[in-house]
């Protein structure tokens, strides 16, 4: 009975979305991620693919879904850079898995919780990327942690606007 309770709760609170949302939203996130820095310049402190990963992982409450979505979006993000494919992929994979695992246990409709989660997951992503670049790949890579902090703050702020907008796209039973 105890093992059924989380699954039962999860089944009740799983949010479902139309299929095209799973294609359009990540694609739009990738396009905007590549296009907005041209408009905002060096002040483009955002990581939209990571935000989309966190959002769907939190609301779908499926670790597998969050893991795979994070992997695909992260690798697509790597495809836009000159770096090795898999750096953002691994970071987003871990973030997606953790977000889904947390989403099962806490109420994620609260905006403050969402903001804190976005902030922490963005910092975690930056730390993972730095770890992969330096420890795994052994590259001489340095990171400006002030920029990463700004990026985490930016993601937290954007999440406050983006998540309610995405909430409106969920399928109604």
């Amino acid at each position: 009975m105890q093992t059924l309770i989380p699954d039962h709760r999860r089944d009740l609170e799983i949010r479902r979305y139309p299929s095209f949302i799973y294609v359009l939203v990540p694609l739009a996130a990738l396009v905007l991620q590549a296009w907005l820095p041209r408009v905002l310049g060096r002040f483009a402190y955002l990581d939209l693919p990571l935000l989309v990963t966190i959002y769907f992982a939190l609301n779908r409450r499926s670790a597998i879904h969050g893991t795979l979505l994070g992997a695909v979006l992260g690798m697509a993000q790597d495809g836009l850079t000159q770096g090795a494919i898999g750096v953002h992929g691994i970071a987003n994979t871990v973030c997606g898995f953790l977000a889904a695992s947390i989403g099962i246990r806490i109420v994620v409709e609260n905006n403050i919780i969402r903001m804190v989660l976005n902030f922490l997951f963005t910092l975690l992503s930056s730390a993972l990327i730095l770890f992969i670049m330096t420890a795994v790949l052994g590259l001489e890579w340095q990171s400006n942690w002030l920029d990463e902090l700004f990026r985490a703050v930016g993601n937290a702020g954007i999440g406050l606007v983006l998540f309610p907008l995405l909430d409106r796209t969920q399928a109604r039973d």
């Binding site: 990738l30 907005l36 060096r42 402190y45 893991t67 795979l68 495809g79 850079t81 994979t93």
Partner: protein, 422 residues
């Protein structure tokens, strides 16, 4: 067994996803050669087939949308502002507000068009005057990551672009083409940590390698401490990297910092000549073969013709001078008998050059007291026949006598007989 997989399904999927990507990463990086083992592992410059395929998919999915966004930028602006305008439809002055906003939009659009026209005009002017062959391209996107400084162009291999081509603007260098697809290309900017360009400081002629630092600023590394390097000094491309042509502006020295790891080395922070955050139109150097425009070719032809005409005129002048020299009477008498060359008694060789004697006036037929040496010449009646039978003057030389008062300035030297010219 089945319960194990169902129970740890999530973790297993996570581990599988991570394992696949770690293996992928391992394939993409390579170990350096043993001779350069201290440099550590480096990322492959060229992508493998699978990696290139992933990049191709992503570029195929993202760049068409970016191209559409870029192409319809004004339309999006129009839609956005009209959406904003619709929020004011309840206002009583809606019509006036819309008119004002429309005029503002048109004005902004015209200003933007004018600016773009000026930029394109400057770029075209630079392209026409630039000696190497270039292709103009529009920047349509970026990497979207603050750690990766790359941009995407709307031109690709179909337009003649290839990897390792230099990307420049009229102000200076931008980066180099890294990856090329059919209609898009990825450009690695000079402020990326993985970029590298050979540069030279203009005044001190100190050479170094330009690459980005974690803050996204280009810096010249591996330079020994030198007090001559001061902020404001221009930095140019050195031309030795086989990518950037020599002498292109890179930027100016902004700051000189000591390398914290190596005390005797400094890092020279460079303020790039090009605003790398606001790139719109760029030129890709597609060929390092000199490419001259029609006007430049005409100038070169005119210059060569002028130079040829000048050389011909100089030759003509020399020829005319030689002919004139032959025609003019010289000091040498062509009718004079051949004189045997004088032999130097010391060396026994003929003396080719000798000093010409001072020309002296011919003796007067009827010398009087005004004639040179006339005071010492006897009247013709005493000298006999005035008309000499030959060139030898038949004047009689008499001992020097006191000259009259009017002849005090006359030469008192004895008048020696001499031939013409000699």
């Amino acid at each position: 067994m089945e319960s194990f997989f169902s129970r740890y399904r999530n973790v297993l999927v996570l581990l599988a996803a991570l394992l696949v990507q770690v293996i992928g990463l391992a394939v993409q990086v390579r170990k350096p050669a043993a001779t350069v083992a201290d440099t550590g592992p480096i990322h492959e410059t060229k992508d493998g087939r699978g990696v290139r395929l992933i990049r191709l998919w992503v570029a195929g999915a993202v760049t068409p949308v970016e191209r559409a966004i870029h192409g319809s930028g004004q339309g999006i602006d129009w839609l956005w502002n009209n959406y904003v305008d619709l929020r004011h439809t309840r206002d009583e002055n809606r019509q006036l507000q819309q008119t004002i906003d429309r005029l503002r939009l048109e004005q902004a659009s015209l200003i933007e068009d004018a600016r773009q026209g000026q930029r394109l005009q400057a770029l075209l002017k630079f392209q026409e005057s630039y000696i190497y062959q270039t292709t103009a391209a529009q920047v349509i996107g970026s990497s979207g990551s603050t750690q990766s400084h790359v941009v995407w162009l709307d031109k690709g291999s179909a337009d003649g672009l290839a990897p390792d081509m230099a990307v420049i603007t009229g102000d200076g260098i931008v980066g180099k083409v890294r990856d090329v697809f059919q209609h898009t290309a990825q450009v690695l900017l000079i402020n990326d940590q993985t970029s590298g360009a050979g540069v030279v400081l203009e005044t001190t002629r100190i050479r170094g390698i330009l690459r980005g630092n974690p803050s996204g600023q280009p810096q010249v590394i591996n330079i020994l401490m030198d007090s001559r390097i001061q902020p404001g000094e221009k930095v140019l491309t050195a031309g030795g990297d086989q990518v950037f042509p020599r002498g292109l502006p890179v930027g100016v020295v902004q700051q000189v910092l000591r390398d914290v790891d190596r005390g005797s080395f400094i890092n020279v922070i460079v303020k790039p000549a090009v605003d790398l955050e606001r790139l719109d139109e760029v030129l890709v150097v597609t060929s390092l073969e000199p490419h001259l425009s029609a006007a430049q070719l005409a100038d070169v032809k005119t210059s060569e013709e002028l130079k040829g005409a000048e050389v011909a005129a100089e030759a003509q002048r020399k020829k005319a001078a030689a002919e004139m020299g032959e025609r003019l009477p010289g000091l040498k008498d062509p009718n004079a008998p051949e004189v045997a060359p004088k032999i130097d008694p010391d060396t026994g060789k003929p003396i080719e050059a000798y000093q010409l004697p001072t020309p002296k006036p011919l003796p007067a037929v009827h010398p009087d007291r005004f004639s040179p040496g006339g005071a010492a010449v006897t009247p013709p009646s005493e000298a006999g026949d005035a008309a000499p039978a030959d060139d030898t003057p038949k004047t009689k030389i008499v001992p020097k006598t006191p000259a009259p008062k009017s002849q005090g300035t006359q030469s008192s030297k004895p008048n020696k007989p001499h031939g013409r010219g000699r």
